[in-house]
Symmetry: C2
Subunit: 206 residues, 2 copies
C-alpha cells in the first residue's frame, strides 16, 4: 500500500500585498524540491487588519509604513523581481481579483495559479488597476478560463461567496497577513520566513 | 594612509523583546566575519508602538499576538537558545534595564554588551524580573561595573536622560521595533532579516 502523500502547504495571500506577490514566485518551487504540493488561497488583509486586529493598514502606520515600502522595493531589487509599484498608492481594491481567483480555483486549482500569477504581474509589474474587470478578464483568459462562464457565476454571486468563505477560513486558521504559510499545522508569516519554511519541510519540524 | 573603517552596524533592541534577545546572540558574530563593529542601543518598543504608531502591544493583538508567542518559542527551539519565557506574562518593565545599559555603554561600550547579555539571559533564560534592582546589580557586576558608581549616577538622573536620548534618537532613525538594524543607513527590522543584513554587508548593498 503506498504511503499517504504529505498534505499540501497552505499559502495565503492578498493580491495587493507586494510580499504576497514575492512569495508567489518562490513557494511552489520550494515545495516541489520536497515533493510537496501548495494550495493557494486568496484572502483580504484589510479584513484581518482592520476588522479583527483593529489597527490601521500597515502602510499608514508612522515609521513602519515607510519601512515596509522601502523593504518591498529592496526585496524586489535583491531578488530581481519586476516591481513597478514602489509607491503603494493608488491601491486597487483586491475584492474582484480575489473573487476571480476563488472561482478559478474551484474549476482547476493548477490553472488558477496562472490566473493569480497574471493578476500579481498586472498589478506589480504592469501597474494595471486590478479592480478593473477588463484587466481581470485578460488574466482569466491568459489561463484558459472562459470569461462568459465567470460572468454567469459572478451574476449568481458564487465567486463572492467563495471568497468570503476563504477569508473566514483563513481567519479561523489564524492568518493575519500576506503572505502566510501553514505547513502541517505550523503557521509562518512573511516572505522572509521562506527559509524557515524550507527548514521545517526539509527536517520535518522541531 | 590607511582606509577608513566601515561605520558600525547599529543594533537597536528592547530588553523585553525575545527577538531582540535572539538577535543579540548573533549580530556581533555576523558582523565580525566582515570585520564590522556593532553599536548596541537599547530602546523602548512601548514608546514606538504605543505613542508613535498608536497601536496596542503586538502580543495583545488578536491573531498576531498568539502567532508571535508561538514564533518566539519555535525560533528558540530551532536555534537551541535557552528560552524559558514562553508565556509573555508577567512582563518586566524594561525601563531600569535600559537605563543601566545606556549608562554602562557610556563607560565602556564593549563591557556594556556583557551587561546586556546578562540582562537578556536573566530575563529569558532564568525568568528573573529585570525591573528588580538586585537583578540588575548582579548583571552590572558580572561585567565588572561598580554598582555604587551606578547608584550615584542614577540618583543624579543621568541614566534616565541617556535612555530618553537613545529612544528619541532611535525614533528619529525610524526604529519602530526590536530588533532593528541600520547598516550604512539602510534599515532592517526583525531577527529573520539577519540573512538579508549579511547579504547587504557582504555585497555592499544593491
Amino acid at each position: 500500500m503506498p504511503s499517504e502523500p504529505c498534505p499540501a502547504i497552505k499559502f495565503y495571500f492578498d493580491f495587493i500585498s507586494p510580499f504576497g506577490y514575492f512569495a508567489s514566485l518562490r513557494i511552489d518551487e520550494l515545495a516541489a524540491r520536497y515533493e510537496r504540493e501548495v494550495e493557494w488561497t486568496s484572502m483580504l488583509v484589510g479584513v484581518s487588519v482592520l476588522k479583527v486586529m483593529k489597527i490601521p493598514p500597515i502602510v499608514e502606520l508612522p515609521l513602519k509604513g515607510a519601512y515596509v515600502i522601502r523593504d518591498a522595493a529592496r526585496y524586489a531589487r535583491e531578488h530581481r523581481v519586476p516591481f513597478e509599484r514602489v509607491s503603494p498608492t493608488p491601491v486597487s481594491r483586491p475584492l474582484e481579483a480575489g473573487r476571480l481567483f476563488a472561482w478559478a480555483k474551484e474549476q482547476d486549482a493548477d490553472r488558477a495559479k496562472l490566473v493569480a500569477g497574471a493578476i500579481f504581474h498586472s498589478y506589480f509589474a504592469a501597474r494595471d488597476d486590478i479592480a478593473e474587470m477588463a484587466v481581470l478578464r485578460r488574466c482569466a483568459e491568459h489561463a484558459g478560463f472562459d470569461w462568459a462562464d465567470y460572468q454567469a457565476a459572478h451574476e449568481q454571486g458564487a465567486p463572492a461567496q467563495l471568497l468570503s468563505r476563504n477569508v473566514e477560513e483563513s481567519l479561523a486558521q489564524g492568518v493575519f497577513g500576506s503572505p502566510f504559510f501553514i505547513v502541517d499545522g505550523e503557521p509562518f508569516f512573511g516572505v522572509e520566513k521562506l527559509p524557515v519554511v524550507e527548514h521545517w519541510v526539509a527536517s520535518g519540524g522541531w
